[in-house]
């Protein structure tokens, strides 16, 4: 990896157990760091809150999807059967709403599911195959058995040496700086 024209993303500390990581995250926040990110092989309850992330829009998006799905579903059927080409189908009323329920339901579920997933991916700013953290050799363990805490450079309180030491004090294993080329 060529070092010239590289910029600093932050410092990364590695921990062995979830407990240590959670503790460290807590400390970091108490120490006043704003832009902290944690990486763990599996979701850890409460960790997000510790690094100051409380609310996600995913449920709202899903709700919106559901509502629009329901409206589309029933609207479409009503329009087709009763408005644009009203036909006498076996003597059934033009607006046979009971018969329209299944499709309405299915579209509700479909829309909300799609919105939920797309929403989640979009909010996570994925796809993002390239990210500075990947430059750290040991980061591969983030998807296996190690737990990482990153203090990002954009944090006003961030100073490379200072923050690195701070992490070591939280007895993080390897503390490494996270760089990326321009």
């Amino acid at each position: 990896m060529t070092e010239h024209h590289s910029y600093l993303h932050g410092v990364m500390g590695e921990f062995d157990t979830p407990e240590q990581l959670v503790a460290a995250a807590k400390k970091a926040r108490e120490a006043g760091y704003k832009h902290v990110e944690a990486y763990t092989p599996f979701p850890i309850e409460g960790l997000a809150e510790e690094i100051g992330f409380h609310w996600t829009a995913v449920p709202l998006i899903t709700l919106f999807g559901g509502v629009s799905g329901a409206l589309t579903g029933f609207g479409l059927q009503y329009w087709c059967s009763a408005i644009t080409y009203p036909l006498n189908i076996g003597g059934r009323p033009l607006n046979s709403w009971p018969a329209f329920i299944p499709v309405t339901f299915e579209l509700t579920v479909l829309f909300s599911a799609i919105f939920a997933v797309v929403g989640m991916i979009a909010l996570n700013k994925l796809p993002q195959p390239h990210h500075p953290v990947f430059n750290v050799e040991r980061f591969a363990h983030a998807s296996t058995d190690k737990f990482f805490l990153v203090i990002e450079a954009r944090d006003p309180k961030f100073q490379l040496a200072e923050s690195a030491r701070f992490l070591q004090e939280l007895n993080a294993k390897h503390v490494s700086e996270v760089k990326d080329e321009e």
Binding site: L87, N88, I89, G90, G91, R92, P93
Partner: protein, 1062 residues
């Protein structure tokens, strides 16, 4: 299809009005626009391969084949074939699939042209050069003509689309039709377009020109002149054409020594001989069935067979018209060996072996004081008692009819009884027989003897098919070989033609001039609707070929005859001709009643053969569909379920249920199709009169226990693609001394089984509200009996508010009291709606396509829920000895709450504003859900490509008003919506409402009994509304609340209370 829709596709069209000469009527109905019609009239031009390649060079794909097809109709082409491909040429004669042969041709000519399949981008419009007057493009014309059949002729109106006859309707002005048609009449139009029809003159199987034949005929004529025609013989069937008879008579005067023999395999001569026996001379008997209160049929199927049966059926049905409980009905007793259409709709039916009927007749006569009494026992005795009483009661208004296949004595006795009851002049009258209706086995016997003795050098066979259908003891074929010159006029190159030196292709009655007499003597001109499709000629022209004026066109002969004959008529031919053509009948030709005095001494009649205990009696009967075999190549008739047995595509040795049980015949309903589909039935050897035939067995409930029926007309070896090798040939065991009834034979099981295709095997209604029946008394006591089995739920029960039908509300009422199950409606529907023939295999898979079916139920049988009876003939139950038979035509019921519509995912079947259950073929994707959800199972699905899109002749046949359905779509009855629309458009243009009876569906039009009535149910004065208002009116499976527009009027029979309680 677009070709079919486009009237302008027919080039050079002439409507045959007035007196066109055959030449001017040439080349009608060419619908293939992208090809030149080669002028094939000049005789000299010969083809060779080079020309052929030339002709085909620039053609490709479809056109290529079309051109080849067209060429194939060119005699020179066939000529060429015989020069280039002798071996395949023989195949050609055997009328194997012509298309296969053409493909083979194509291959052997190594021509390109497979390319460019698929729909062409441009279609062409091919207008006339000079448009014939009196026609409007796109509007069918109707022309009156008549179909000669046996000793009768049925007057018809033929629908013609730009010169293509497409549909046959009855002619209301014609005595034999009264507007009705039979299955055979309806189907006869398919024969016109049959690609297997013989197409040219042939000598020893080689194509010859007509002129070549004329020369040969003249040579023969001159040579016969010397011997006064001593060695010249003519063989024909019954001829009702006055012109033809006159021509033959004239010929016979020129050759005094020559003889004219006649043979009809399926027409009994009992009637003629009976008359002779009774009155000392031949007379025809004409019945006024309508005037009779009591009718006794001695093995006579007068409602569905024999001269005048359509008229009789109508008269009969009109006497069974019930307006209310106080209406009266006539009463019909039938004594017969095997259930016929007439027997099945009788009030009383007594199964009795054929040979016993004479005994019965004598007993009855004796009871009425004619001749000496004979001992008759059991049920029959009770019958004689009861019937005699009734006949006495209704003197002058009763009628005894003897069956066509009964011996002379029975007919004589019937005459005697009618005479003694004073019925003559009331319910029947006698007329002088037409010359030329003298067909008899003796006539043929004489001919055979002479041929055998080498007395015959030249034999002219007009029609018929003696090699196939002559009694086998005559061994006609070998006799034929002894004749030097044999000339055959036939519409097919069949068994007989194969052994004749000359074969002249015979014209169809729709493409040639002629005339014919009806059963009551009324004559009609037979006018062609289309110029001959092939190089065919009529009997008139063939006879003329031997006269001193060879080459006289049929038209001239007919016209000349009537010019002379018209001197005896109210109008002369010159003034009346147009009118005759227009009306379809010649005024003043109806035969006048002749007076006869009874010479019969009943006592002197030879004693009838005593009953031979339980010895098996074989009876021969013409098949209800293919008759004597002449309709064997007619797909519509082959696929038509036979009225009583519901068999298709085969005949079978018919046995009674009890006999089947005694012989332990086991029927196996195969899972393929099953109850309507494939039934494996046991195969037996029938040994009779020293020869043997192998046949499948089929059980017919209600047949006499010791009777085995061998239906004629099957087992053809050279019928054509459709008819060859179907069923078994009963003629093989038929001898001249036992034409109708034979004993001394035996039936032995072979252990094999054979697959029969039956469209209805289960005969029990399982206690469901399907076919409501009652006796007249019950009906009078309880007029609403039809509603007992469950009734329509109140409309108010519905959660939904009803759709309103403010305009027309099309509906149909089918009177089951009138319906006799004759099947005319089924074939009419097939003809009108371009319904494909699917073949035996598909029928066995339960995939027949008929839009209307006639169900047959036995009401007094055990249901399969009760004591786990099977409810089908595979298991014996006493009721099957003489079950009560009822028929029920089932078209689409046009439900207002249609279950089919609700489940169609694409809305391919929806309701029209007039309450029709529309079926939109082009929207259908074929999920078959609608059919599953149809309680009446009237929907039909194109599982494969059933339509024949290739054969050009069949394209000519199609009704351009109806979409031709292809593979993968559902289809069904739509009340002939094309007819509704056309009438409505006309009414709309005149801004008037549609009149009642203005729209007539195909089935309604064909029905001889007027059992089907269609109309606007919203109009209280319409016929249909009135019928629906009757208490007899009920809904099929009403409890389902599908609210069909088709309703039924319950069947009421009028049995004799005395016999009832007995």
């Amino acid at each position: 299809m677009s070709d079919m829709n486009d009237p302008a596709n027919d080039k050079k069209l002439r409507i045959l009005q007035g007196a066109p000469t055959p030449e001017t009527a040439h080349g009608v109905g060419h619908h293939d626009h992208d090809e030149e019609e080669g002028d094939l009239t000049e005789r000299e031009h010969r083809l060779d391969l080079a020309d052929l390649r030339e002709k085909l060079k620039e053609k490709s794909g479809k056109q290529y084949w079309r051109t080849l097809e067209e060429l194939a109709d060119d005699p020179h082409f066939e000529d060429l074939l015989h020069r280039e491909f002798p071996r395949q040429a023989s195949e050609w004669d055997e009328a194997v699939d012509r298309r296969d042969f053409l493909k083979l041709m194509g291959a052997s000519l190594a021509l390109a042209g497979m390319a460019g399949c698929g729909r062409p981008d441009v279609t062409k419009i091919v207008p006339y050069v000079k448009q014939p007057d009196g026609m409007t493009l796109g509007r069918p014309n109707f022309y009156a003509t008549a179909m000669p059949f046996g000793a009768d002729a049925v007057g018809v109106l033929v629908e013609s689309h730009e010169g293509r006859p497409t549909k046959i309707e009855g002619n209301p002005d014609h005595p034999s039709s009264l507007g009705a048609t039979s299955t055979l009449v309806q189907a006869s139009i398919l024969n016109l377009y049959d690609p297997d029809r013989s197409q040219t003159v042939q000598q020893y199987g080689e194509i010859r020109s007509w002129s070549a034949f004329l020369d040969a005929a003249q040579a023969l004529a001159t040579s016969s002149k010397a011997t006064q025609g001593a060695n010249f013989r003519i063989l024909s069937g019954n001829i009702t054409s006055p012109t033809l008879v006159a021509q033959i008579r004239k010929l016979l005067t020129q050759y005094p020594q020559a003889k004219w023999h006649q043979w009809e395999p399926a027409a009994g001569d009992g009637a003629r001989e009976g008359a002779k026996l009774a009155f000392g001379r031949y007379v025809n008997t004409v019945y006024n069935v309508g005037k009779a209160n009591v009718i006794v049929s001695l093995d006579a199927d007068f409602l569905a067979g024999g001269p005048g049966h359509l008229a009789y059926a109508r008269q009969f049905a009109r006497r069974r018209k019930l307006d209310g409980p106080d209406s009266t009905m006539n009463r019909l007793y039938v004594v017969e060996p095997t259930p016929s259409v007439t027997g099945s709709s009788a009030d009383h039916r007594l199964p009795m072996r054929a040979s016993q009927v004479e005994l019965f007749a004598r007993a009855l006569a004796a009871k009425l004081g004619i001749g000496s009494g004979v001992s008759i026992s059991g049920e029959a005795a009770k019958w004689v008692e009861a019937i005699a009483k009734e006949l006495q009661k209704d003197r002058g208004a009763s009628l005894v009819i003897a069956g066509e296949y009964q011996p002379a004595a029975v007919h004589a006795l019937a005459h005697a009884i009618n005479a003694s009851l004073g019925n003559v002049g009331n319910t029947l009258y006698y007329t002088e027989p037409g010359d030329g209706e003298g067909a008899s086995v003796e006539s043929l016997r004489e001919l055979c003897a002479e041929m055998d003795a080498g007395k015959v050098d030249a034999l002219l066979i007009l029609g018929g098919n003696p090699v196939y259908d002559a009694p086998h003891d005559f061994d006609f074929m070998s006799k034929l070989k002894k004749v030097q010159t044999t000339i055959r006029l036939g519409s097919y190159f069949d068994e007989t033609s194969a052994w004749c030196q000359w074969h002249v292709a015979e014209s169809h009655y729709l493409e040639s001039w002629g005339d014919a007499r009806a059963f009551d003597g009324t004559a009609s001109i037979v006018q062609p609707l289309i110029a001959p499709l092939y190089y065919t000629h009529s009997a008139h022209e063939v006879i003329a070929a031997f006269s001193d004026k060879p080459g006289t066109p049929a038209y001239d002969s007919v016209r000349t005859y009537w010019t002379e004959a018209s001197t005896r008529l109210p109008e002369s031919a010159d003034t009346g001709w147009r009118k005759w053509l227009n009306d379809g009948v010649i005024e003043g030709t109806k035969a006048v009643p002749t007076t006869v005095e009874l010479k019969l001494n009943a006592a002197s009649l030879p004693a009838p053969a005593a009953a031979q205990g339980d010895q098996i009696e074989f009876i021969f009967r013409p098949d209800p569909n293919v008759y004597d075999g002449r309709f064997a190549n007619n797909g519509w008739l082959q696929e038509l379920p036979k009225p009583v047995s519901k068999l298709t595509w085969d005949n079978a040795a018919l046995v009674s249920a009890k006999y089947a049980e005694q012989q332990q015949y086991a029927y196996k309903v195969k899972s393929r199709g099953g109850e309507h589909g494939q039934v494996r039935s046991p195969v037996v050897d029938v040994e009779l009169n020293g020869s043997k035939v192998t046949a499948a067995v089929w059980t017919v409930p209600g047949q006499d226990n010791n009777t085995v029926v061998l239906p004629l007309g099957y087992g053809r070896s050279r019928a054509g693609y459709t008819g060859t090798n179907k069923g078994f040939n009963a003629y093989v065991v038929r001898t001249s001394n036992a034409l109708w009834t034979a004993t001394g034979g035996k039936v032995t099981g072979t252990g094999d089984s054979y697959s029969l295709a039956s469209t209805q095997y289960h005969f029990n209604m399982e206690g469901r509200q399907i076919l409501a029946t009652a006796t007249l008394d019950e009906y009078r006591k309880k007029p609403g009996f039809a509603h007992e089995l469950g009734e329509l739920p109140e409309k108010s029960n519905s959660l939904y508010k009803e759709f309103a039908y403010p305009g027309y509300a099309w509906g149909m009422a089918i009177d089951l009291t009138k319906c006799n199950g004759c099947n005319a409606c089924v074939v009419a529907c097939v003809a009108e709606n371009n319904i494909p023939v699917v073949g035996k295999d598909q029928v066995m898979r339960g995939r027949e396509m008929h839009w209307i079916r006639v169900d047959r139920y036995y009401t007094n049988t055990k249901s399969s829920t009760a004591d786990n009876a099977t409810g089908d003939p595979s298991e014996y139950q006493p009721a099957l000895d003489n079950p009560q038979t009822f028929f029920q035509p089932v078209p689409c019921q046009q439900c207002e709450n249609a279950p089919c519509e609700q489940v169609c995912p694409v809305g391919a079947t929806v309701h029209s504003a007039e309450g029709l259950n529309d079926m939109v073929y082009n929207r259908c994707i074929g999920t078959r859900y609608c059919s599953n959800n149809c309680p009446y199972k009237v929907r039909r699905f194109n599982f494969l490509r059933f339509q024949d899109w290739d054969t050009p002749q069949l394209k000519l046949l199609r009704n351009p008003e109806v979409t031709v359905r292809s593979r993968g779509v559902m289809e069904k009855c739509t009340y002939c919506v094309q007819r509704i629309n056309n009438v409505r458009i006309d009414a709309e243009k005149e801004e008037r409402p549609i009149r009642d009876g203005e729209i007539v569906t195909a089935c309604e039009a064909a029905c001889p009994s007027e059992a089907i009535v269609f109309g606007n149910a919203n109009d209280p004065n319409s016929k249909v509304a009135k019928l629906k208002a009757q208490q007899r009116n009920y809904t099929l499976l009403g409890e389902l609340n599908a609210r069909p527009r088709t309703t039924y009027l319950a069947a009421v029979r009028n049995p004799n209370p005395e016999l009832e309680k007995a």
